[in-house]
């Protein structure tokens, strides 16, 4: 067993356990904080898959930005003193059946498909290459998504401000 495989098994267990806590915790704040570990574990997977830059982005944007945003959101909207009210679940039967059946379908598809695989994956620095790609082949999506981000920011501020005017 190689070292990367060991790391993989560790991250697998780590991510699935923390994700379960996020999913099933009855305290909203716990979920929000545990999500940080899930995202961290994902960054680990990315490193294993040769995506050093993506892993850094994952940590900085997701764990550092989005997750903090979610924690703020939880704190601003929820009654933290009453966690049992703030994070109840419902539609149990529907959830169970749809979740299980869809996962079964996914697993079956993954198993049955015959993937064309490389002899061996490559792990080498990708930042420079990604930079070139983003500014050459993917320049249009890159610009579009920049604009989308700007629009999203302006839009969310606008939504909140309008409510305040009323």
């Amino acid at each position: 067993m190689h070292v990367p495989d060991l790391f993989f098994m560790f991250f697998t267990i780590f991510v699935l356990v923390t994700a379960s806590i996020v999913a099933f915790s009855s305290n909203m704040l716990h979920s929000a904080f545990t999500l940080f570990f899930v995202l961290f574990g994902m960054a680990g997977f990315y490193v294993l898959l040769g995506g050093d830059f993506v892993a850094m982005v994952q940590l900085m944007v997701y764990a550092g930005g989005v997750n903090v945003l979610l924690i703020f959101g939880t704190m601003l909207t929820g009654d933290i003193a009453k966690p049992e009210i703030s994070n109840l679940s419902f539609q149990g039967i529907l959830t169970f059946f749809s979740g299980v059946s869809f996962m079964a379908v996914l697993l079956t598809v993954f198993e049955k498909t015959e993937w064309t695989l490389l002899e061996k994956g490559v792990r080498e620095p990708t930042t420079a290459e990604l930079g070139k790609l983003l500014l050459k082949d993917y320049i249009l999506p890159f610009e579009v998504i920049s604009f989308l981000l700007l629009a999203a920011m302006v839009g969310s501020v606008l939504i909140v401000l309008q409510r305040e005017k009323d």
């Binding site: 994700a19 899930v38 997701y62 703020f72 939880t74 994070n87 679940s89 959830t95 993954f110 939504i159």
Partner: protein, 103 residues
């Protein structure tokens, strides 16, 4: 570890995300479920990028992962904005009670 191992992890993550999405009463919880689903998709892209040959650049999958992360950021911003606006309107963010679409 091979491709299918990663795919199974991502499938598990996806299922957990969907479960959150469907069952959580809190809007922020639903948002977290969406983040899990998005992460599982990004993991798939990364895995395929690493394990399978690409017709274009080998790093295309990683580019898509980056885009997913950026989209998630945008989505989180907008969704939280809506959640806060809803909180100001109704004083709660319980999804099972935000049902003005009920027929």
């Amino acid at each position: 570890m091979g491709l299918s191992a990663y795919l199974m992890v991502s499938a598990g993550l996806f299922a957990l995300g969907m479960i959150m999405f469907i069952s959580k009463k809190n809007t922020i919880g639903i948002l977290m479920g969406v983040e899990l689903v998005l992460n599982s998709a990004a993991l798939n892209f990364m895995a395929f990028s690493y394990f399978t040959p690409s017709k274009g650049n080998q790093l295309d999958g990683q580019i898509f992962a980056i885009f997913i992360i950026l989209l998630a950021a945008a989505e989180a911003v907008v969704a939280l904005g809506i959640a806060i606006a809803a909180y100001k309107e109704y004083n709660h963010v319980q999804a099972d009670e935000l049902i003005s679409l009920k027929g």
